[in-house]
């Protein structure tokens, strides 16, 4: 596992900006981090780049616990580069900027020149090598900053809103480079974005961050639930007023009546066998079908729009079509809830 985090919290001025119970990120994949402004995306990226330390919790990088000592952090930072949302250029030429990371690593001058040439070529900025880095446009600055990161051949490239404040042409170039370096160099990439479509186009995995809390899945499967009654080990709750479910009580906090529930799209079953007691059976109509990272993303209207992921072989077996009536099963193990509200 590339990153593993448990109970990660970051508190700024007594305000919790990040509160992640569990996070696991696989190597050599592209992850997109989606969430609104203030969701904690930049804070999480800074922690993953070892530039910020969590207030509590544990973080592992390639199975090794991040302790937070200066020496270890410096060693880890040399494997991970964060591309800032608004990158800043050091005083000097484009060449001097791209050279910086190689110089601090004491790479011999001949190799430096070769790698700088390759990196600038990759981002299409070779002709700018002797330009004053401060005189570049926003899109050019981002491309040079990308070259400055890629020249180091990092294990992980973290990009904070790589396409923000950039024209369409430069957006395409930047996204193309991200895709290419993952494909050719197997660089693990995590990038944040506001745009669900952009993230889903490129990424193998999508991470949704809202109010500092991470949900593995897409935003459609997060609902506000009102608990209407509690009875023994189970409780009844209404999802956005349209759907009633019976759920196991222990996973919900006892002191609240409104919670946020999330259904893991990968754990929901289509047309399941009958007779299971560890979940809820629901009926609805298929409203969406989409291919997503080698699997099928199916949207079923069961009173609320529920998203589930189907493996390709399961899809070939079931062949659901738009408008078709289907049954789904949400096992209790696919449900998690948090007290964060409103959302």
């Amino acid at each position: 596992m590339l990153y593993r985090a448990e109970d990660l919290r970051r508190v700024h001025d007594s305000r919790t900006v990040l509160d992640i119970g569990r996070l696991a990120i696989e190597p050599h994949r592209i992850y997109t981090l989606i969430g609104p402004n203030g969701a904690g995306k930049t804070t999480l990226l800074k922690i993953l780049a070892f530039l910020d330390r969590p207030t509590a919790g544990s973080l592992y990088f390639f199975g090794r616990r991040v302790e937070g000592g200066d020496k270890q952090l410096n060693e880890l930072r040399r494997q991970v580069v964060l591309l800032d949302q608004n990158p800043i250029m050091f005083t000097g030429s484009v060449m001097k900027n791209v050279e910086f990371g190689l110089k601090v690593r004491r790479v011999p001058p001949a190799e430096r020149r070769r790698r700088i040439g390759e990196a600038l070529d990759l981002v299409g900025m070779t002709s700018f090598i002797d330009y004053n880095a401060r005189g570049l446009s926003g899109g050019e600055t981002k491309r040079v900053a990308l070259a400055r990161a890629l020249v180091l051949q990092p294990e992980v490239l973290l990009c904070d809103e790589p396409t923000a404040n950039v024209d369409n042409e430069n957006q395409e170039i930047i996204l193309g480079i991200i895709e290419r370096i993952n494909r050719e160099h197997r660089t693990s990439i995590i990038f944040s974005t506001h745009y669900l479509s952009q993230g889903q186009r490129l990424a193998h995995h999508t991470l949704l961050l809202q109010h500092g809390t991470l949900s593995d899945g897409v935003s459609e499967n997060i609902f506000r639930a009102t608990i209407t009654s509690r009875r023994g080990d189970s409780l009844t709750c209404q999802l956005t007023g349209q759907l009633t479910l019976t759920l196991p009580a222990p996973i919900f906090p006892t002191d609240v009546s409104v919670v946020k529930v999330h259904f893991d799209p990968a754990a929901i079953l289509l047309n399941p066998d009958k007779g299971r007691a560890d979940g809820n059976y629901l009926s609805g109509h298929v409203t969406g079908l989409e291919q997503d990272s080698g699997q099928i993303r199916l949207t079923v209207d069961v009173g609320v729009k529920l998203v589930q992921f189907l493996a390709m072989d399961r899809y070939r077996l079931e062949r659901p079509s738009i408008g078709e009536k289907v049954r789904v099963f949400i096992p209790n193990s696919a449900i998690d809830c948090s007290r964060v509200s409103p959302f």
């Binding site: 800074k46 780049a49 530039l51 200066d70 410096n74 930072r77 040399r78 991970v80 580069v81 964060l82 800032d84 608004n86 990158p87 800043i88 050091f90 005083t91 000097g92 030429s93 001097k96 910086f100 990371g101 601090v104 690593r105 002797d130 330009y131 004053n132 005189g135 400055r148 990161a149 180091l152």
Partner: protein, 234 residues
Amino acid sequence: MDMLFDGVQSAILLLVSWDKDLVEIVMVSLRVSFFATLIAAIIGIPGGFLIAYSHFPGKRLVLTCLNTLLALPTVVIGLLVYSFISRRGILGPLGLLYTQTAIVIGQVILIVPVIMVMTIAAISRIDSRYRMTALTLGADRYQMAVVIMKEARYGILAAVIAAFGRVIAEIGISMMLGGNAKGFTRTMTTAMALEYDKGEFVLAVALGITLMIFAFAINLLFHLFQGRTVNDAV
């Protein structure tokens, strides 16, 4: 008015002829001020950086104390250092009193707070993204500090120039710790005071003009350097 006009006229003649006494005084002043500024910069710049970049209890108090020290009168520093280096002081056996070294010690105490406070201000103005960028590109703390210093170089240079201006123009420390010995510890300011006491204005005015020329030349160099670096492509 005639006295001032005659004084200026004679002073210019003295400067043009590059009078031996005048050169000697100017050289003592420059030497003492240069070493005082150099030592204070070696102490003050890293000190200012450390204070600006570290978080510790009582940081605000330290900043308040440093700001207070900016107003420290030269006579107080003169007295303080005198108490240490006079024959009865604990450093008396070193025989530092009435030497250029004594002036340098006093002047370093005078300008270390100036350099520190201005360095802290210069570094605090630097965008925090420089630090983040340097670290994420693999710089260690020392290399990151070099990046920050480089980006804050104009502010830091301004601090050094202000400090140099402060010491070359001060009189209290030079007089009390140097003793105004001719050819040895006589600086431009102490010589001016002496000439004034004697009623000899020519050398005093000539030294005053020289002092202003130096101040002007240093500031001009600073602005030329700053302008060239900002305007140049690289």
